[in-house]
């Protein structure tokens, strides 16, 4: 009954220096289906797509398009074969017209000149096929991202694509826009196009997908009809059972439930369209609040709004009961908030400066350039933190870029501790560092918390969140779905909450 697949990827292996990104990965796409490709960060989704679109060539394995083996060498090549891709960021030219963006590179010509009439007519037709009626002569940048995304899809389809790959197309869209996109996808399904849909959003996966392929650690875990795979099952399949065994056991007998009656910071309905649904959070001094959720659930978005990096569009923040507006990191710092960002290398350390200079940076910024810290004080302070946090280095003058990831992270911690903050936001502090360093960092978090700091802890390792948190706010698809006591919770209870009522 079922038709034959239009595209089959078999036993795809791909290694990068030091990493095995894909091991015998498999994928089947049938005409007229939306197929979700799911997996945690680093599961191999993007590598698989890169192999399919010719960005990377596989070490072994084969790709069959309509039973014919293919080996695309470039995005262009894949497109000529009928495999079109819409990448996460819109890869169009914002300064050109909508019509031009759809046809540039293959303009119809009339004599020596470009046939603009034909381009506009065909562009309008291509967009109408996606149920979009816009003035195609207008500049692309005048339209919201959702429309730009649709224009990118129209461009991808204008090459007679049989397979359409959408790499996280919804990550910058709001609900309405996602719904429009899905309408268009359903239309494409009817026309028999096979759509591969990569997303982190569970709701969206179930709203549009017919089947789901799950990857984990570069391996094919399974291919399931979406209707037969429950949410909890899906999460368990994605996360796997190989949970950090140390995580549960070492949970410390933590501080008292609520050391102060009033939260240090109280957040009500903080949100921004397209980024985060309104969220309520209370963070107490002497407590660690963990943010639990899958990738893309809104953890980092929440942290960035709290620190004033991204402007919240709604909601209120009160610190010690007094309302405040945190619309810039400077204001947040003045309120005693410190933030260690997710991307240590680009947003955290200044690689060429010494450890001392990196540690002193935030404090000096807070004091202002006219109240220069004498070098003697700086050195004393740096040495103090090197000792206190156990940063392994011969001396404080070594460039921080030469330290290991774990020690860099500790130095960043020191940078913010030096400003004597009241609250510390840690976004993925344990990412990319070895297990021993992870444990050290987590211990440091607990120590600082006992000293009375309020801490917001973010990690994609659920076991780590469970290990350090007194309470856990659980996020799903950019909204808070619940809050549980960190001591009572285990992974299954958090996952059940993420999966929601349907599980």
């Amino acid at each position: 009954m079922k038709p034959t697949p239009v595209l089959v990827m078999q036993d795809i292996c791909k290694s990068f220096p030091g990493v095995k990104a894909l091991t015998d990965a498999r994928l089947r796409l049938f005409p007229g289906e939306v197929h979700a490709l799911m997996g945690q960060n680093g599961a191999g989704k993007s590598t698989l797509i890169k192999v399919l679109t010719g960005v990377e060539s596989p070490d072994s394995g084969q790709i069959l398009l309509k039973d014919q083996p293919i080996r695309p060498e470039s995005v262009d090549d894949a497109q000529k074969l009928g495999i079109s891709t819409v990448f996460q960021e819109v890869n169009l030219c914002p300064n050109l017209s909508v019509a031009e963006n759809i046809f540039i590179g293959r303009f119809p010509m009339r004599g020596l000149a470009i046939d603009w009439k034909a381009i506009e007519r065909d562009a309008r037709k291509a967009l109408l096929a996606l149920n979009i009626d816009i003035d195609v002569t207008r500049t692309l940048s005048e339209f919201p991202v959702a429309i730009q995304q649709m224009v990118a899809i129209a461009r991808a389809l204008s090459t007679e694509a049989q397979v359409l790959i959408l790499d996280e197309p919804t990550s910058s869209l709001d609900e309405d826009e996602v719904e429009r996109l899905f309408d268009a996808l359903r239309e494409l399904k009817r026309k028999g196009i096979a759509i591969l849909f990569v997303t982190h959003f569970l709701d969206q996966t179930y709203a549009i997908s017919d089947r789901i392929t799950v990857l984990r650690n570069g391996e094919f875990i399974g291919e399931y009809p979406a209707a037969e795979l429950g949410r909890l099952e899906l999460i368990n399949t994605m996360v796997g059972r190989d949970i950090d065994e140390a995580g549960q056991a070492a949970k410390s007998a933590s501080s008292a439930d609520r050391p102060t009656d009033r939260p240090f910071i109280s957040v009500q309905g903080l949100g921004a369209a397209g980024r985060m649904h309104p969220i309520d959070l209370d963070i107490y001094q002497g407590q660690v609040l963990g943010l639990g959720g899958l990738l893309g659930s809104g953890r980092t978005e929440t942290a960035r709004m709290l620190f004033g990096i991204d402007r919240a569009e709604s909601g209120t923040i009160a610190i010690d009961g007094a309302p405040v507006r945190l619309n810039s990191p400077r204001k947040a710092v003045r309120q005693g908030i410190a933030f260690c960002p997710e991307d240590r290398k680009t947003e955290g350390i200044v690689a060429d400066l010494s450890i001392r200079e990196n540690i002193i940076l935030a404090l000096q910024a807070r004091r202002g350039i006219f109240r220069y810290l004498p070098k003697r004080v700086q050195t004393a302070m740096a040495d103090e933190y090197i000792k206190q946090l156990g940063i392994r280095t011969p001396d404080a003058e070594k460039p921080i870029g030469q330290l290991s990831g774990g020690n860099q992270q500790k130095a960043l911690l020191a940078r913010w501790l030096a400003t004597e903050p009241k609250m510390l936001i840690l976004d993925e502090p344990t990412r990319g560092i070895d297990i021993a360093a992870k444990l050290e960092i987590m211990d440091l978090v607990k120590t600082q918390c006992r000293k009375g700091l309020a801490i917001l802890f973010i990690s994609s390792e659920m076991s780590e969140v469970l290990r350090v948190s007194d309470r856990i706010a659980v996020l799903r698809d950019r909204q808070k779905v619940g809050e549980i006591d960190g001591k009572a919770a285990d992974e299954q209870s958090v996952f059940r909450m993420i999966a929601g009522a349907e599980a």
Binding site: N91, P94, G105, A113
Partner: protein, 342 residues
Amino acid sequence: MNLAGTINTRTLPLLVTSVLFALLFGFGSVSYDNFFSVQVFLNLLIDNAFVAVVAIGMTFVILTGGIDLSVGSIVALTTMVTAALVEQQHWSIWVVVPLVLAIGSLFGLLMGSLIHYFRMQPFIVTLGGMFLARGLCYVISIDSIAITDPTYAAISEYRISFGEEAFLSVSAIISLLTLALAIFLAQYTRFGRTVYAIGGNERSALLMGLPVGRTKILVYTLSGFCSALGGVLVTFYMLSGYGLHALGLEMDAIAAAVIGGTLLTGGVGYVAGSLVGVMILGVIQSLIAFDGSLSSWWTRIAIGVLLCAFCLMQRLLEQGGSNLGAIFSYWKKPAEGSAPAR
């Protein structure tokens, strides 16, 4: 297409520039006797023909997000090579002109290749080209060489009349032809649209399979060609070759392009705007000349103020422009029924 649809953040700077030109010209007409005449207007074209041609080449470079500082020096070098060959070697104009155009293009091609293949900054590469070409002038001669060749003199004096008292020079006609060709190139050829795409987002242009490298090299070649052509027009205008000709012309060309609505970051602008930009620079000069009491340096002051004002306007438009899109309703299917309750 209605009027409101035609005027948007892209075309508004050009419109403002044109209106400003009309205002300045009108101001001159009211303030000074004999200012309001067809010939004063045409003289702007005649006196600034070489600036216009150079600015046209510059516009293509800026549209890709690059810059070409070498144009003034290439103009000077062209006049020097021309004067030396025509006066000292007695070569024919029909050999010399194609030769200097080829030299200018080659100069641009080399700079473009350096910029593309070695990923060097256009600013530095063309700054080097600027010093090099200017220096080469003095290798030929440190003095001005007058051109006495009868063909040059004839072309220089030739006037194409329109009606009774209006006329254009050969140079002005050449610059108008160049403009027409440049507009066609920019709007109706793959090369031109690739230039815009590169300026809009070079990475996207690459991912869309456009010939980014080739186009970038060609753009500098085109600018080199336009500079050499501008140099030829200078020899018609000045009848001499001199290493100090066209000093600072690159800055006038950049100013004309920016005042004409071209964004220095690339991707936005019109070639025709640069001609209007040149005409504005010209009309300011004329106003000051007609006034007679002001130093000619007031031209610079006026240009400086204008330039800042235009950059400010573009920035404000850009910020306002991002909100424009939200105003228009664009979906064919209104979200009836399917609209989620909020």
